[in-house]
């Protein structure tokens, strides 16, 4: 088996006496679309924060393409090709949409912390910014200040910034939360396009989205993964039903 794109080994995280993440081990293959589901407070966002470097694990390791990244600062992890979005829109509110995406692009275009060149004169940066904007259907709003965007567009911008750096492992934290039905559909299409050829890890509450997108689903309950399998098996797993899905209606299997 090839090296997993992302590998969690015996991951633990405690805040004082509270054990939030408990012995989580998980391998995610390159190109896989992996969903993490679980009830509120199960530790999904904490898990994302551990992987992306916002938190340091109490014990255990995270490996990205076979290299240990746990304990590294978040920006170093990002440079190694792991990018994430946030549950609440986490954008640069006083800048325009174009400037937001351009900031996301800068690092991958080798701009570093340059103070000796004009940001506007680099063709490659402008070209890449344009591509990302077009990819996320944001070109019409390119010069709108991010704070004035409608909610659904802010979520799209959130994803645009996440993919702008060209990372090959992408973590999306509830990308469709709070969206209407049609907005969700648009977001799912965007996620599908954005994650092509990349490894995607997604936390989501909308079961329709999950069963539609994911190749594999892990169920996190009280900081432990109780099942990790393709959607068809998860649907039939009695432990999962009891712990999480309960009486919630599962979408019918599409043939």
């Amino acid at each position: 088996m090839s090296t997993p794109a992302l590998s969690l080994k015996g991951l633990n995280k405690s805040f004082g006496p509270a054990k939030i993440i408990n012995e989580v081990s998980l391998d995610i293959a390159p190109g896989e679309r992996h969903a993490i589901i679980g009830p509120n407070g199960a530790g999904k966002s904490t898990l994302f924060n551990l992987i992306s470097g916002l938190y340091t694990p109490t014990s255990g390791t995270v490996e990205l393409n076979g290299e240990a990244i746990s304990g590294m600062p978040a920006h170093e992890i990002n440079k190694k090709g792991l990018s994430r979005s946030f549950q609440v829109s986490n954008i640069f509110t006083n800048m325009t949409v174009r400037e937001n995406v351009r900031c996301g692009v800068l690092h991958s275009m080798g701009q570093g912390y340059a103070w000796w060149r004009n940001i506007g004169s680099n063709k490659a940066v402008q070209q890449k910014t344009w591509e990302v904007l077009e990819h996320c259907a944001l070109t019409d709003k390119a010069n709108v200040p991010a704070a004035l965007l409608p909610y659904a567009d802010q979520r799209a911008l959130e994803i645009a910034i996440t993919i702008a750096g060209g990372a090959d492992v992408i973590l999306l934290d509830e990308p469709t939360a709070g969206m209407s039905h049609s907005e969700t559909e648009r977001a799912v299409n965007l996620i599908r396009r954005a994650s092509e050829g990349k490894t995607l890890v997604i936390v989501e509450h909308d079961m329709g989205v999950i069963f539609d997108l994911a190749d594999r689903i892990s169920v996190l309950v009280y900081g432990e993964i109780i099942a990790s399998a393709p959607p068809s098996e998860i649907r039939g797993d009695p432990a999962v039903r009891e712990a999480y899905l309960g009486d919630e209606e599962l979408p019918e299997e599409v043939a």
Binding site: G53, Q126, T139, A142
Partner: protein, 420 residues
Amino acid sequence: MSDTTRGFADLAPSTGAKFRQRTLPILIFAAILFAIPMAGPSRTFYTLAHQMGINIVFALSYNMILGKGGLLSFGHAVYFGLGGYLAMHAMNWIEDGVGIWGAIPMFFLPLVGFAGGALAGAIIGWPSCRKAGTTFAMISLGVAELIFAAAFMFDSFFGGEQGISGDRMNGIELFGLSMGPIDEVYWFIAFWTVVGVIGMWAFTRTPLGKLSEATRDNAQRVQFIGYNPQRVRYLVFIFAGGFAGLAGGMAAVNYEIFTPDALSLVPSGFVLIMAYVGGITYFVGPIFGAILLTYMQSMLSDFTEAWLLYLGVLFIAIVMFAPRGIAGVVFGFLDGVRGENPGRYFGRWIMRLVGILLMLMGLIVLVEVSVRWSNGYGEVYEPFGLHLGHGNVLSWLLVILPAVAGVWLTRFASKEEEGQ
């Protein structure tokens, strides 16, 4: 929507717009500076203009961290002062011909100031830029106190209470400027003011300048686009220190003396007020603020001993009612008269202006009468031949009536706006 003929070029402002918004204002600014000496200004005017030039650069450098970087510093004069002190020493080295200094014209002293300010920023910024927000503000205050205290301990560098003085008429002459007469110093100040303005404007257009804005808006997210927000802050801080030092170098040549007062909390507070009153969300805001407050500082203090009180009221009024500063008011006005129904907008604007002037009139009478009353020299405030003593009913009527009328007018204008 995804029209393939459109490209990235469409998103950027057109060449014409760039010229109008970026190049033209700087050309106009430079043209004004160039035209001033032709009007044959007085010595007083030159003195004022030099102070304005220095403060423009200083206030802009402060806004690199406050407006563009989101870092509130209470000790920015430290970098102005340290840069200025280094330039002051360099002035003396040039006079004595120490080492290679004999070959360096006085004209370039602001660059020495820049180096001094940047070096101080690099040393002090290292621990203080690790955190933003309140922590950063408190550290800046502590550092300012520390450096000010140190200035009285290390006499050979700071010169104790007398400070360090020098003579700018030494070394090689550049551009035929002996740097002696005030109208020759003018060209020196004008040159470095323009260099400072262009330099700091250019900085906002670089990747680091943009990252600074991104870090201000959302430091956490900056980490997830591959940048270390601490390093962004630190680098920006060094540049802000450098430009503050540039202003210090200009001041060193202009005044030929630097005392520890230049590093104290007073100028640190003054630069904050200049930047804020001018408008920290705009690049040009601090320029407006520096011009107005420098004028107030040197001119208003001739008219009234209570000028600091007016400065305080101005600052509080701006913070409460016009948080985007003078620049916000000016650009808001330009947008308003260009928008729908300019006539009514202009009407409301005039109403507000009259209201504010009335309130100001009430305030002035109150302050001037009270100050004289409090002094107890029996002096009486006598504007336009009126005799406004504190026992005169007319005095108090002239406080209350304009103030009430002014408040009423401004509120009326606001209601009118809402009702529209």
